[in-house]
Symmetry: D2
């Protein structure tokens, strides 16, 4: 068991560095907006998790790599003490990228030694949490990088082979589900986050759910029908958001000389109408569904239907606000700050995206974002 944990540790840690291999030193630094972080920070922060939560607590005589790093690379764990202002992550040029890699390798060495010892279940669970945490940051790293690159008029290419939004539907039609009690929440014995338990019954009405996600071409019809100009499709705050930000299309779409393009991690591409629409906010997903005379699934409907769906190329907007499941209980200490304190004003997304690490998600996984956010790889599935 400890051996396979060590193997997982090495695999996850190496994948993070592999994701950075196309980057120049310059690319590690900028923070374009407060909600995005620089690659340099992601690399260090996930390492900080292992150093602070594991090595400092459970490895006797462990010497911290640098005493200022707790301050610099803590994200939001108030229990772990003071931390640098979030908005200034892009201002820090020291420690350098090279020093951050040294930090990673120092912690890796100690972690690998640590993982060769017999571990308590509690510690194993914490290491597993750290690996899932790092996987989340792998996806955030790509999201944040795409956002920063998209602001550059040169539209930089991250990886020419990966057109990370060119996914097509494999199924069509609708699936029907009957009014019934369904059990929701993680019931396996592997890892899951604290927000996925405990399993509990939810009563659902009849619903039909689409086997396909909305495509760029379908979404374009909404745009061309004036969807962004008609208040009646929109939630009131969504309509204010559209007007205040002059939203006219999904994030990363550009109309150039009358033709639609979109920025992808493979550079600027002509819009593929068959590809699944990506980078829409909850407001847009909800407005599109209203315009179609449909609605979005609740997260419970989605979970109930998930076994019959082909999912995993987009995070799918649900109509469920992010709330605690019955019996949800916040853990003691810093780990307890992982999920519970964000349960307000955010909407649940289910499924997973092409940028989500393989094996990271599952049918009970609950992702969440504020309703105006759209730098995540989000898509739309309809229910009627």
């Amino acid at each position: 068991m400890a051996e396979s944990l060590a193997a997982s540790f090495e695999a996850v840690r190496q994948r993070t560095e592999a994701l950075c291999s196309p980057l120049n030193i310059e690319d590690y630094i900028p923070q374009a907006v407060e909600f995005a972080s620089p690659p340099r920070w992601h690399l260090a922060h996930v390492t900080w998790f292992f150093e602070t939560m594991i090595l400092q607590k459970y490895q006797p005589d462990y010497q911290v790599f640098h005493e200022d790093f707790n301050f610099l690379f803590n994200s939001y764990y108030q229990s772990a003490g003071e931390r640098a202002v979030r908005a200034q992550r892009g201002v820090m040029t020291r420690p350098t990228v090279d020093e951050v890699y040294q930090y990673r390798h120092y912690v890796d060495q100690h972690m690998i030694a640590f993982l060769s010892q017999p571990l308590t279940d509690e510690v194993s669970a914490l290491v597993t949490l750290g690996l899932n945490h790092e996987q989340q940051h792998q996806e955030l790293l790509l999201m944040d990088l795409k956002y920063v690159f998209s602001l550059n008029p040169l539209f930089p290419v991250y990886d020419a082979d990966k057109n990370l939004v060119a996914d097509h539907n494999t199924q069509q039609g609708w699936l029907s589900f009957g009014e019934d009690l369904y059990t929701i929440g993680y019931q396996g014995d592997g890892f899951c986050f604290d927000n996925e338990v405990s399993p509990h019954k939810v009563y659902l009405q009849d619903f039909e759910i689409s086997k396909s996600l909305v495509t760029n071409g379908e979404y374009l019809e909404f745009i061309e029908a004036g969807g962004y100009q008609q208040f009646n499709h929109w939630l009131d705050e969504g309509w204010s958001w559209v007007q205040a930000n002059e939203i006219r299309a999904p994030l990363y779409w550009h109309k150039i000389d009358g033709e639609w393009f979109y920025y992808t991690l493979a550079g600027l591409k002509k819009l593929d109408p068959e590809s699944i629409v990506c980078h829409v906010s909850y407001y847009e997903a909800n407005a599109y569904a209203a315009w179609k005379g449909c609605r979005l699934p609740t997260e419970f409907e989605w979970e109930a239907a998930s076994g019959a769906l082909d999912w995993g190329t987009r995070w799918e907007c649900t109509s469920s606000p992010y709330q605690a499941y019955p019996g949800f209980c916040i853990s003691e200490g810093a780990v307890g700050e992982y999920n519970g304190k964000f349960m307000i004003n955010q909407m649940v997304l289910r499924g997973g995206a092409s940028v989500t690490p393989a094996g990271h998600s599952r049918p009970t996984y609950r992702n969440f974002f504020h309703p105006q956010m759209r730098w995540q790889f989000s898509g739309i599935r309809l229910v009627k």
Copy 2:
């Protein structure tokens, strides 16, 4: 039926004016913050509803009182056309208060004549909606007036006899409810809002709900235990709100020379520790519950328990985000903008307050506010 509707019409309309009887002309004008409106505007807006939604549509040859009033007194009904900027309601001094009363009386006259005719069910329903709408504004009028008055260093008295926050609990202890399917939503044949239907089954786990609401004295213990200084009780956005706004106590509380007072509609009063705490935000209610090792009820738990509760002195914070019930369908036209478009980023409150018009609320009634709001007469009931 039409006769009793006419009687209701007169009663509701007169009560609005009675609520304004303690006011000076000056008091009708100011708008202290964007979310509050001046009495002058409330008086005209509820009248506008009857003129625009009923008389202009269903009374042939009706002459509008003043052609600019649709623009001036529309609140948020985009279907009803352009409207004055919400934030500038307090800037308007014309039409004068006297002219607004003339407008009321002109519309009243025409409405009374109109109501003496046989009405279709559709029109009756619309008039009833207008009366419930006016009752909502009766409560808003008191909320807004209290807010404006509270900013005046003279702490004006609205009505010396009404200490509108001095309500005490009549019951103590806990009620237990068993895991089961409960039916939620309005099932009667009287009026209800579109957000209360259709009735549907919800599966609830075991829960115990308090028979009493949290008192000022109990809440003071939270304050004195440092509740506003400890991040771990708070949702992340709640903690930011506390810090950004230097929140240290419920709205309207003042610590003067070491002693607690609160502003009421009867003026500044010494804090009554036995009285039920009022004017707390969802963030505060949630933090208080966490500090007590309890939680807030969901709106479904509240509704299931409501028959056994003594409710109606405070709007009770629930942990339920304001969302559509299964099968919720937005009506056509302006009336359809009543509820549905606000179903984002708001939390449901259940019950009713001492300032809520008698008979206006019911066990299925769903009130809603943003989680930072606290000028409503809100209180806290715990669940464990």
Copy 3:
């Protein structure tokens, strides 16, 4: 001397009330923006000056009218203690308008008695300052009232006989002045503000100054030539201001169905091309002058030329930042806060407007506003 001061006192005090005679109670209340104040506040604040600066200091046994009024009606005199937040002047409905008039009359009575006694020069000077202060607020009252009324879609009429922007030039052509030393600053023995002294020599180059002010028709040519769309006429911060606020014309101008109107204190009127342009910011005045290949006068040029100019219908924008004259010395106490502390980021305007009380201004008078402000009755005179 004391007798004439008493007569002046009564005249000035009565004129303030006369200016309010067309108002309804409602009109006394609103504050549309932070820089404008309600009539109710102006009435009380100028009275506060006499109570606080004169009666409380120099009249033994004087009983203040109400102990909270110092807090409520102090404007910015930090030496005089705490004061209500400026932005909330429009929120206060108590003391009522009637009580404010009672306050005025109470203070008037005591002042008139006080002024019947022999006064020291120091006290006489202070009373005279108070009267000049009240005259400044008479003009502010009209400026602020016009601003609030202009936001009302009904375009209320303050006084149908006063079209307060319909002034025409009486002279044409240019005046030449030779390079020389000129003496600047007040040299008489009447009242002047501390910012007008001491007189001192200023060396001026040759200049020619226009005998007429720019008219609406001339300014319209600038608009129609695209003046608001061409960055090169504008100061950098002026250009940002134009773009951020979508400025397209002077304040109060409205283009309705292709025709220009402007709001005046006599209501909405068709633009008179012969009338002198009004309500332009320094940015606009400067851009207009640049577009004409001219420039604005310095305040010293204006003063040197003033004897030969017909001035007094508009405050004339000068290119001089508001700074201290050589030897300027801030007085002790609250009176010292009158002028000196505002000597940053503001531009001097010279002359006077049709809304300026008769006899209030003089050739050495220095008015001042921030460069983006335009609710004052400002106009443009060119120099080449």
Copy 4:
């Protein structure tokens, strides 16, 4: 003449790169605040000036290095076309630092060839302007770098040998100047900026000017006497700035365990009381002077006295707003945007700082900043 211009060109261009020699790639990227720019941008922008203003206009067949660079590296020259948003200079990671150096060397090569030809006076003047422009950016580069580094809790060292704020006074006492006409403005035949001409007479009153600049020790007395807590020393907007930003000391000062330190380009150092105070805003300089019963010099007094002063370690705050000299005329085209359009809301500083390139400043040189700015190396000289 052309030969010495070529030599100057090479010297200035090399110095810019020498200033960057202590930097890591990471350090070239961040932009901490909108008013500061990344080293990478400075390096490219000064090069853009030569490419756009010289080579593209005067060198036939010149091929631009990259067609997007005009967009990316234009600063504020609206005449030169569209430009990237200023606030996002820190977001750009491409072109890379290496590519920016290639750009520099490409332009250098072409400029050196271009300068070997006979040049018109107009072109020579433009090249000289470009070199002075680059020298200004050399100083900005150090200012901006210091600002970014100062936000890093590690307090990075730019150059351990350069304690760039440890300058001491060499003279003490006061110099007297008599009331007289003085000639102000550049009268030599070398280079000067358009804002330094034309020379003109200014009449000054008697004044005495200090031979020394205010030291850290002297400024500390102001702090310890409560200078930052007493409104009466401050301009009104200065006092608001102090309170809104909780200003308690000059920029870069830190009180650690009761002892004062300051951040310098050589790292964090213990405060040297003998060293000349640095990084004060106009508001602070003005308040300090008021507290001492003195005032700041006008820029004309400073210039009149400059021959007798030992200046050049700090930019010296003057009480003069930045305005045009008599006869100031804005040049045609992009070069005309250099100075004139900033003549509003800024204050003149005279002299020069230890970070100012040798030979760049002169007695008539007019530097300028907004009154709240203090990342420039500014100091205080008193007048009485």
